[in-house]
Amino acid sequence: MSTVDVAAPRSALSIQRRETLRAFTRSKTFLAGAAIVGFWILCAIFQARFFQNPNGLSVHILEGPSGSHWFGTDRNGRDVFARVIAGARDILVIAPAATLLGTVCGTALGLVMGYFRGIVDDVLGRLVDAVLSLPVVIVALLAIVSVGPSKKTTILVVGFVFAPLIARTVRTAVLVERDLEYVSAARLRNERAPYILFVEILPNVLQPVIVEFTVRLGYAIFTVATLSFLGFGIPPPSSDWGVQVADHYQYLPGGFAWWPTLFPGLAIASLVIGVSLLADGVSQVLER
């Protein structure tokens, strides 16, 4: 395989790339997901320029939707519409950062586990199992209780929990690659293990890593939103959707005020659905 690759002209690779790109633009699932996620990214970027201040207080407390406040006002008299538009900001930074951290650590871990096998694999495998035996939310609770909630902690904790999950996927892919000829050739050339892992094997397991990244991104948003709802994620002054729901769901009973809960809730739902459609599109295209 490697000899053919060397002889193949560069254009073959670019044709293949263009094919993949075209497959993306043809995938309805991918496009739908990209549209939803793109909408929220635009909101997060341009919110400050075009909409009201999401933290502007007023005396209109818990007023229903009206012409001046499309989604009503919350318990501090803040405009719910402005807060919903601004709500994507923190989570769209924190969730991708956490996923990236988890993917980088998990890929390294998976490469090591799959390549060395034996005792390394057994020991690391047990550790991975131990982390995965507790639900993500509880692992995060344990860690965040110790250090206190902040944006940085949320990134670190979610990244840490995701690493073993990604490691498992990468390990499986590496197990196949390590027995192929190009790896034996590198070993015969007396290349060192880090070189074989990151220069030889890594580019060949990149596809499952990308798929895993997009899938995990959806879970990261799910997890960060849940932690914020529990009061262990993004700290309160933020207009994060999870925080908004947590602050206002107590007003639901008795039909007192549904708007400060329902609108941010639906916003989270739309974002996570968008990301998972995106992920599904990516895996359909790359795993054809």
């Binding site: 509880i138 729901v245 769901y249 459609l277």
Partner: protein, 317 residues
Amino acid sequence: MARFILRRLGLAVITLWLISVWVFCSIQLLPGNVGRSILGPLASPTAVATLNHQLGTDKPALTQYKEWVTGVVHGDFGTSQKLQVPVRPQLTTALRHSFELALVAFLIVVPLSLIGGTIAALRLGSAADRGITITGLSLSAVPEFVTGVVLIAVFGIWLNVLPISATWEPGSGIGSQVQHLLMPAIALSGVLFGYIARMARAGMVEALDSDYVRTAVLKGLPRRTVIWRHAMRNALLPTITVIATQLGYLIGGLVVVEILFNYQGIGRLIFNAAAAHDVPMLEGGAMVVGAVFLLATLAADVLYSLLNPRIRHGSAE
């Protein structure tokens, strides 16, 4: 078979031990003085020191770990620092409540998602297939607290057909209890539906594509017999494992749902213990959750091998 189960059991024990080390370490990182946080800022330093001595929090970490693990192995989880009552009865009550909730959720979601996945597989590529797949994909992405608040708004308030709180009045009958559990159970089921339906669909698609199904069709068997007798049994095998591993996820979801619906289960107990820095309760809760998850995975492995003759009659693995 016995060797297989023993091996799995051994691995589970090792994993449980690792969880204990890890839970203990992460809680040891807790800042501050336990005695001080219980007695408050006005207590005298000697009183704080005495309480720390009574609680054993002034001992070296390794000694504390040994004492804790010895206790847990003997079924003694210590005394709650917050409530000043033994942890174990609290854990068992909460666990029973959570099992009731999880049971209702499973009874709703397993049949629905199996039927959904099978229908999608039988009409591969049709509008029904796409509808079920997209619904499952979307449902599995939405956090439980979102599903929960939407359910509360729709069924609890606008339609006013279901109670908002999951806690029923003492002495109410089983019907009323189930009614109270219905909404939290549906909120829990959303995520599970996506996973299980997707596995069931994939399993069924693979089974329908196999040689033995083609043989059965060519033999002239009616379609219903082919699906029920031949394809179904093989299609559901991988799904069983998914259902069991989802139990672990379910416990994570319980934290959110139990808080939202005000239900005294294990998730709420762990959350309250975390918020109050109640170390023995938090450690006990985390261990119980880990143990339940490992038991469920073990049960799934055993069930899988019982249903799959290739594993049952094969080697130890």
